[in-house]
């Protein structure tokens, strides 16, 4: 049975490889350079290698890994089409992120060490989050960036895994209050960075982890109602004391078409990109979504729908759903509360982040500066998303090791 499973996965990998090859051939026809030839050779090859080799070496979820690699490669393709330099950079980011993913996997496999470093680790998380508040740089209205020489880093992305690990550890030890305090500090620091989208994400993940560990629905509902109330009251207050970019975003959300030249510009351009693309899209390289602001990061989804079509957009959301459900499957198979909780936190991070950003793109909720996991341009974002997958795969590795052990013991008993 296991063998059969592997073979079906193999045909998926082959199909995706073909897709990536044809995309790069198309891009190559548009502009024949040495760079595009190299990309044509390296990206599909790299995808094929990483999606088949890693599941052989490590006992991890092959489908999850394949889909994640697929999304990353789509990101590289789309970014390469926008600006070849972005594509090359993103490919390098992907490689670095993949290494980080393997490190995270190993880290989870040998997690015992973490318990020794838990207090310094927690402190480090807080320190890293505090840094942009003190010495940060403001981009798109949020003060969430640190510049180190040539590089810009978004600490809130890096700390995602930290939030999951620390909360998972505390909650598995039934230290709910400490966990709430830690999450509240994180949230406060994010609010000081004026990064609403990420704050919402952190809140949702922490709340879900606490809900699962306590099993109390009233706790969860109180959390949802409390957050909604805080947002409504806070919005009225903050509007008066200098969160101008926040209130602009709400205006843009409620009536984008009345303000399509200023506040609503991003939303309107996103919606236009989607309807102009139609069901089947205008074709890779033939799109007309060049007006969308931050199309390489926040608005990459409408840009892709414009070129690949709405059906592709729906498929993309479904792929994310599958990734989320696979992650939850890992959480359900885990034997210890700690592993189950961190796998859950990681899955929710991916699933909810997709909701927040695509929901913003299609004007279901106000637009925030959250990235689309695995696809958006940006080293930190890709790195953190891949680390999250690394944690998931690490838990799966532990699960499979334990299951193999059980099977061997059952075999011995029968003997």
């Amino acid at each position: 049975m296991d063998n059969k499973h592997k073979r079906s996965n193999h045909s998926l990998v082959a199909t995706i490889t073909l897709f990536i090859v044809s995309c790069f051939v198309l891009l190559l026809l548009k502009e024949l350079t040495l760079q595009s030839v190299m990309m044509l050779a390296l990206v599909p090859g790299g995808f094929y290698f990483l999606s088949t080799f890693i599941p052989q070496k490590f006992s991890v979820d092959g489908l999850l890994l394949t889909l994640v690699n697929f999304l990353c490669c789509i990101g590289i393709i789309v970014l390469y089409r926008m600006n070849p330099q972005y594509g090359v950079n993103q490919a390098i980011n992907f490689l670095a992120g993949f290494l980080a993913m393997i490190l995270c996997m190993l880290g989870i496999r040998y997690i015992e060490a973490f318990k020794l470093f838990r207090i310094p680790f927690t402190m480090a998380c807080i320190a890293v989050m505090l840094a942009p508040v003190l010495i940060g740089k403001e981009i798109h209205g949020a003060k969430a960036w640190l510049t180190l020489g040539r590089f810009s880093v978004q600490p809130s992305e890096l700390v995602k895994v930290g939030l999951v690990l620390v909360n998972g550890y505390l909650l598995s030890k039934r230290k709910l209050l400490v966990s709430i305090t830690f999450s509240a500090i994180m949230l406060l620091l994010l609010l000081l960075q004026k990064d609403m989208g990420t704050a919402l994400l952190y809140y949702a993940v922490a709340l879900m982890m606490m809900y699962v560990s306590t099993g109390s629905l009233s706790f969860f509902l109180a959390g949802v109602v409390g957050a909604t109330g805080t947002v409504v009251v806070g919005y009225q207050l903050l509007k008066r004391i200098g969160f101008a970019h926040l209130s602009r975003r709400v205006t843009a959300w409620l009536s984008p078409w009345h303000t399509y030249q200023d506040e609503g510009y991003q939303t309107v351009q996103s919606l236009l990109a989607i309807v102009n693309g139609g069901l089947f899209g205008l074709g890779l390289g033939a799109g007309n979504a060049s007006n969308i602001p931050v199309r390489e990061a926040d608005s990459i989804f409408p840009f892709m729908v414009n070129e690949f079509g709405m059906i592709f957009g729906v498929c993309l959301i479904l792929i994310y759903t599958v990734i989320f459900v696979r992650g939850i499957g890992i959480a359900l198979r885990a034997r210890q509360k700690f592993f189950s909780l961190i796998a859950l936190g990681c899955s929710v991070f991916i699933g909810f982040q997709v909701f927040v950003i695509i929901g913003g793109n299609i004007n279901l909720i106000p637009i925030t500066g959250v990235t689309l996991p695995f696809i958006s341009y940006g080293g930190t974002s890709l790195l953190s998303s891949l680390c999250i997958v690394g944690v998931l795969q690490g838990v799966e590795w532990v699960n499979r090791t334990q299951m193999a052990l059980d099977a061997r013991m059952a075999y011995c008993r029968e003997d």
Binding site: L332, L344, I362
Partner: protein
């Protein structure tokens, strides 16, 4: 651990639900509003596309060409300036100055976006230009021009004529209008906003024409109201202001029928107070006030009923069509058409058909019911009252001898205007000439004096064309 897993399953439902919500929300908004987005002025892509396709012609219901593309690719409009001006808000213009004219709102057909994908690709590869569909509209260019002729010169306002059985719009005019072949700097900067379509996008209090809705609510909620005698003392006194009848008339003891035909404010103000805000609002809602209009062929602003928690004064004024009521002339025409059509309100339609270059019909008119605000009995009573208003009431000037015309006048007071806005809604109660009309003229005086005579002339034009 078992409990933990159960809770995890609930989390799965929530997050998967949110992700599926994205798909559902996206699909619903694209299907209901996609065409509005696509054809909006914000879409610069549309302009690019105009170079890649040869747009089809726009015809009126008789097949007269209102807009077409000549051999050099230039867009030309009807040769007669009067017809051009009368149809401009429906047809649109080259530069998309009119927000949602057919030139942009029907771009899907005109620019061949509905051409099968394969053919689009083939045309692109061959380097040929796509041929768009020809679009036949339900309006009548000649009738429109004649209507423009009888509208008070130099005044702002709107006229809508629609077939109440099918919803086809025969004429839709907004004043001031402009000539699409001669758009000057003065027109672009005119404070009267000639580009703005007053028929579909001007929201205002409709004055006494709204009494049709108050009457409908009374018939529905008050038993024996037709036999009852009302007392008009000439005034309802509120602390801050007084509601009086036009020309300080005191009607004394009066039936509902006479109160309607004389347009007695005091009786209808008292009726609104007796009905209460909730019932009046429910009837208004049944007529589509407060609904989100998403018609397939044209963009109409949403009408609104004033917000809750109101004083008696505001409620009484709402009953006579004042206060914060906001309706478009298009919507008032739809209300008249619902009365005419036995209580069934049809969706206004502009597109009769779209035909591709091979003569194949790509889209056809399909009459569609929006709402059913009235029962047949209620509609008959209201028609009868409206007939009375034409024969011996405020709407006498709209009468055309020998024809069954029904109508209601309105004079809406608006802050900051010297004169009232003159309104008239009505219809021809005849199966073979099924037209409902709405006339609105801004800042000119009473509905009976200004709008009703215009309506009479329009009715004559409509008879002549049958």
């Amino acid at each position: 651990m078992k409990r933990l897993r159960q809770t995890i399953r609930k989390v799965v439902l929530m997050i998967v639900g949110l992700l599926l919500l994205l798909i559902v929300f996206g699909a619903v908004s694209v299907t209901t509003q996609g065409n509005r987005w696509f054809s909006s002025a914000a879409n610069t892509y549309l302009r690019d596309r105009k170079t890649a396709a040869i747009p089809g012609s726009i015809l009126d219901r008789r097949g007269v060409v209102l807009a077409s593309t000549d051999d050099e690719g230039r867009r030309t409009y009807h040769p007669d300036e009067k017809v051009r001006k009368a149809c401009v808000h429906v047809v649109g213009d080259r530069e998309n100055n009119v927000g949602f004219g057919a030139e942009s709102f029907m771009a899907n057909y005109l620019y061949g976006f509905n051409t099968p994908y394969i053919r689009q690709v083939v045309a692109m590869l061959r380097g040929e230009k796509l041929l768009g569909n020809h679009v036949m509209l339900s309006i009548d260019g000649e009738v429109s021009a004649k209507i423009a002729n009888v509208f008070p010169q130099g005044k702002k306002g709107a006229v809508v004529v629609m077939n109440y059985q099918t919803g086809e719009i025969i004429a839709l005019l907004s004043f001031p209008n402009f000539d699409p072949d001669n758009i000057t700097y003065t027109i672009k900067n005119d404070p009267a906003r000639p580009f703005w379509n007053n028929a579909t996008r001007w929201l205002s209090a409709p004055g006494s024409t709204f009494k049709v809705v108050t009457l409908a609510s009374t018939l529905r909620n008050m038993k024996g109201c037709q036999e009852r005698l009302f007392k008009c003392t000439g005034v309802i006194d509120f602390k801050s202001n007084q509601m009086r009848d036009a020309n300080q008339v005191v009607h004394g003891v009066i039936t509902l029928r006479d109160a309607f035909k004389e347009s007695c404010n005091v009786t209808f103000g008292n009726l609104a107070l007796e009905l209460g805000d909730r019932k009046l609002k429910r009837t208004a809602k049944a007529f589509g006030i407060g609904d989100h209009f998403l018609f397939s062929d044209l963009v109409v602003e949403n009408s609104s009923y004033p917000k809750n928690a109101r004083t008696n004064k505001q409620l009484a004024w709402t009953g006579v069509g004042q206060d914060a009521l906001a309706l478009t002339p298009m919507h008032m025409c739809m209300i008249a058409s619902a009365v005419a059509n036995d209580g069934v309100m049809m969706e206004p339609k502009l597109l009769l058909k779209a035909v591709d270059e091979n003569g194949k019909v790509r889209a056809d008119l399909e009459p569609h019911t929006v709402k059913k605000p009235l029962s047949k009995e209620e509609a008959d009573i209201i028609s009868d009252f409206m007939r009375e208003a034409i024969l011996s009431g405020t709407g006498m000037k709209a009468n055309v001898p020998g024809q069954r015309i029904c109508g209601k006048t309105g004079s809406a007071q608006v802050d900051g205007q010297a004169e009232t806005n003159a309104w008239f809604i009505g219809f021809i109660d005849e199966e073979s000439i099924p037209y409902a009309i709405c006339v609105a003229v801004m800042d000119v005086g009473g509905g009976g004096l200004v709008a009703a005579p215009v309506a009479g002339e329009i009715f004559k034009i409509l008879f002549d064309f049958q």
